[in-house]
């Protein structure tokens, strides 16, 4: 790109061939130049101001129709789970959110903020009001109140609202993505990006109907915050800055991933300063965002003083100081003569370096000396992927925190990951603006983080869609222009060269009307166009590729990501669907047949579901805030029966349940998770050593398993009376081996309930050891 030739200005492929004198929706002139009332009224007048349908009006209505269809598709593609299974809350974390939402909708806001949950983490309890991110639950509560009290639509239950939050907010995400990419490149790119994010499988997986988790609203908040920030940066308007701050407030309240925003925006601002792009607009947008954002983040109880005290937030203040210094230098420059400015600048730089050095030293000593003010464990494990495995096994054990494989990139992002690089290159043409630099930096940092943890692929999905939208839109723009040029093929009609200014810097550069540079072809064809037939096949090919992508997305949305994981399905030999509903069966047994105050112990995965569906007090749940308590439960599961009984009696446990998949081949059972119990228990209690549980050669449960393993409570509870079903030589269908110790007899526990497919097994903790060994076969009751 070393030559100084002019590229023809790219026209937005919606806007037709002629430059029009009025451009109410041209993003590059900035909508801020119109008063809000005029903008709204002209948005809805079908005939525009001229009084008849022009090309522009047709384009505008096509764009609106496309946007409406994109939002409808975003909503509909997430409804597979309701069609295939039922309208039920999925997985584990959503059950906690659902319980809190139910509580808030019944008791009101004051009770919500003061909610202390004593049904979990027995005997510690959990302060919910001060430690959850309230965005999701409060959004659902207010929507529920709006529907039942204002619209008076009955019967709508809280569960219905919670199930539908994902689809609704993903439609809104598509709308905001359109807005964001519109600011960067133009409407065509915006529509393409919106269409991609509406259907991309990575986002579908976390926002499907029933997946009532923070990411369902957080991704919407993320994109809206970025859209409003880019808008305020382009227009330099304080009003848009207020909007950006409010959107950031919503983002902070929804998800812990807000630290990504509060670090990305300073990095971007720093890049702008370093590349000599500092402008008044940047200062206005950035400083207002950081200040308002900090103040708003302080208001939330879950963040509180962390917003000014933890290292994750310091980059914002650092760049703010730097930006103020740069602004001050510019101010001095405009108020001093050149010579005086040189002298002042030297003085200022020395002072600033000394001052900054002292400040940085102070901050570093402060951060290092107070143990709570360093980077939190989760943030550190992002920067150093091996950190969690070495120091915090509980973070390493979560399946979502593993590094993703290539297949998950291709599966979840498909087209977006392929075109993302082209999108990054497209951002550099015709010129790197603040908004396109933002997308580039966002893309690069997201790619790094998504490589660390598979659950962060979700942060990569929006930016991959934006960049892909830009790339595909640029290609389509070129092809369509070539095709149209071929059709009109009059040498004086240089479609793309005149009319609207380049994207990015609003309206400053005039269109280069009719100029033919030296790079045009000999017959006067403007630079860069391809022959018409080639363009036609190019467009057709691109349509085919995009269609295959959509087929893949809807297949994956339907088959891959819509399972609620609390209900399992399989096909019988005749092709019918067979449903495994063991989880809910066991939880409702617990709810109906045990005391209200009974304490239930299990591995932490099932804590939220137990409190929400079985409505019983649990020892540990998915919040995993207390590693020692979880380690105690893990130690109990890994101990011999008597020792485990003592541990459980000390914690007042009445029932213990384990998940066992050996009869039906369900591989996410507790025996497969058992080594994590050992590792986490061993992290706190040194008498639990992992290699004691490994049998001959590898972790196994057949005769060659280690004797410690065969004696653990987990083993006994899982395989108790298993030989009644599969025989003494029977196979465990998950491990595909014979199990090692038939005739298990329990002295301190008594089997209370086993679900239909033996997936959940509930045992009562006896007060005194049984007189006779409880080996007498009981029929497995299904109450």
């Amino acid at each position: 790109m070393g030559q100084s030739r002019h590229r023809p200005c790219r026209t937005n492929w919606h806007q037709g061939r002629r430059a029009s004198t009025r451009r109410p929706f041209d993003p590059s002139t900035g909508a801020a130049t119109m008063s809000p009332a005029a903008a709204v009224s002209s948005a809805f007048a079908p005939w525009g101001v001229a009084g008849k349908m022009t090309d522009k009006d047709v384009a505008r209505w096509v764009e609106r129709a496309a946007l409406g269809m994109i939002m409808a598709v975003a909503f509909a593609i997430r409804l597979f789970s309701i069609v295939k299974y039922e309208s039920v809350i999925h997985e584990f974390d959503p059950y906690f959110n659902y319980r809190v939402t139910k509580f808030a909708s019944e008791k009101g806001m004051a009770e919500f903020w003061n909610f202390f949950d004593d049904r979990t983490w027995y005997p510690l309890g959990r302060v919910v009001g001060g430690t959850i991110y309230p965005g999701l639950t409060l959004t659902a509560t207010w929507i529920y109140w709006f529907i039942t009290d204002v619209l008076k639509l009955h019967p709508v239950s809280v569960k219905d609202v919670c199930v539908m939050i994902g689809p609704i907010f993903s439609a809104l995400t598509a709308l905001s993505t359109y807005g964001l990419v519109n600011e960067v490149r133009g409407k065509g790119a915006g529509l393409m990006a919106a269409c991609l994010i509406a259907t991309i499988p990575s986002y579908i997986s976390r926002s499907v109907a029933g997946s009532y988790d923070n990411e369902a609203v957080a991704i919407f908040a993320l994109v809206v915050t970025f859209y409003l920030y880019v808008k305020s940066m382009k227009t330099g308007s304080l009003l848009w800055g207020v909007g950006a701050s409010l959107a950031y407030f919503y983002m902070v309240s929804s998800w812990g991933g807000y630290t990504f925003i509060i670090n990305l925006i300073p990095i971007h601002a720093l890049a702008m300063i370093v590349t000599n792009n500092f402008s008044a607009n940047l200062y206005v947008a950035y400083s207002q965002f950081i200040l308002n954002g900090t103040l708003l983040a302080l208001v939330l109880p879950v963040v509180g003083f962390n917003a000014v005290q933890t290292s994750e937030h310091f980059s914002g203040f650092f760049v703010l100081g730097l930006m103020n210094a740069v602004a001050l230098v510019k101010f001095l420059r405009s108020n001093l003569t050149e010579r005086a400015f040189q002298k002042a600048f030297r003085l200022f730089v020395t002072l600033a370096v000394v001052g900054a050095g002292v400040a940085v030293l102070g901050v570093i000593t402060y951060a290092m000396t107070s143990p709570t003010f360093r980077w939190s464990g989760r943030s550190l494990s992002l920067l150093d992927p091996t950190y969690a495995k070495k120091y915090i096994p509980i973070i390493a054990s979560v399946s979502e925190h593993q590094a993703p494989t290539w297949s998950s990139f291709m599966n979840d992002l498909r087209l977006a990951i392929v075109f993302m690089g082209a999108g990054i290159m497209s951002c550099f043409k015709p010129r790197l603006t603040g908004a396109s630099l933002f997308l580039v930096i966002w893309g690069v940092t997201s790619v790094y983080f998504s490589g660390v943890m598979v659950r962060l692929m979700l942060v990569l999905a929006p930016v991959a869609c934006c960049l892909t939208g830009i790339a595909i839109s640029d290609v389509l723009d070129l092809l369509c222009r070539s095709y149209r040029y071929e059709k009109t093929s009059s040498p004086g009609d240089d479609n793309g060269v005149s009319s609207s200014p380049g994207a990015g810097k609003g309206g400053k550069k005039k269109g280069r009307a009719g100029r033919r540079g030296s790079e045009d072809a000999a017959d006067g064809t403007p630079y860069g166009l391809v022959p018409g037939q080639l363009a036609f096949f190019g467009i057709a090919g691109l349509v085919v590729v995009l269609s295959f992508h959509l087929f893949h997305c809807s297949y994956l949305g339907g088959e891959g990501y819509s399972s609620p994981s609390i209900i399992l399905q399989s096909r019988t030999s005749t092709g019918d669907v067979y449903v495994f509903d063991d989880y809910r069966e066991a939880y409702s047994w617990l709810r109906e047949n045990t005391d209200y105050d009974a304490k239930v112990a299990s591995w932490w995965d099932y804590g939220y579901q137990t409190t929400a569906m079985a409505d019983r007090t649990v020892l540990v749940d998915n919040n995993t805030w207390n590693n020692t308590h979880i380690a105690t439960v893990g130690r109990a599961m890994a101990s011999p029966e008597k020792k485990a009984w003592e541990i459980f009696r000390a914690l007042d446990v009445d029932y213990v349940f384990v998940v066992f998949g050996g009869m039906v081949g369900y591989s996410s059972d507790d025996i497969n998770k058992f080594l994590w119990m050992v590792r986490i228990g061993g992290g706190e209690y040194p008498d639990i050593v992992e290699k004691d549980y490994i049998g001959e050669g590898y972790y196994r449960i057949d005769e060659k398993a280690s004797p410690t393993m065969l004696n653990t409570l987990m083993y006994k509870l899982s395989y108790h009376r298993f030989q009644d079903i599969v025989g003494r030589d029977g196979m465990d269908r998950v491990r595909n081996t014979r199990f090692g110790k038939p005739d298990i007899q329990l002295k301190y526990f008594e089997e209370a309930f086993t679900s239909q497919h033996w997936m959940l097994r509930v045992y009562k903790v006896l007060d005194k050891p049984a007189r006779s060994k409880t080996g007498v076969p009981k029929s497995s009751l299904k109450n």
Binding site: S245, L291, N292, L295, L298, V299, N335, L336, A340
Partner: protein, 107 residues
């Protein structure tokens, strides 16, 4: 030598700065006032303590925010590119928002 240089720079600055309009000078003085108030508060926090930390933070950030908003306002009208009334309206809304949030946080 350092003092001499400083004196020279200050002289030139005063000369050049005197050419700015009166309105801009008023705005500039408000920025300096806001920063001075924030400095007073930080000194108070150092000397007396930060006990109701949320109140300390809310007041300091409010002053700093006012300074930054006014500086932004000054940047936009100083360039002479946008209409002063429109920028002032935005500035008022932003200030009201800032003060509202600060008051709700100061407790």
């Amino acid at each position: 030598m350092l003092v001499g240089e400083l004196k020279e720079i200050c002289g030139v600055f005063r000369q050049e700065y005197g050419k700015t309009s009166k309105m801009l000078k008023i705005v500039d003085s408000f920025v300096i006032f806001a920063i001075a108030t924030a400095a007073v508060q930080m000194a108070n926090a150092l000397l007396v303590g930060t006990f109701p930390f949320n109140a300390c933070l809310a007041s300091t950030l409010c002053c700093l925010g006012a300074a930054i908003l006014t500086a932004s306002f000054r940047m936009q009208i100083g360039g002479g590119k946008s209409r002063v009334e429109k920028v002032f309206a935005d500035y008022c809304v932003a200030m009201i928002f800032l003060i509202f949030v600060s008051i709700s946080y100061v407790g």
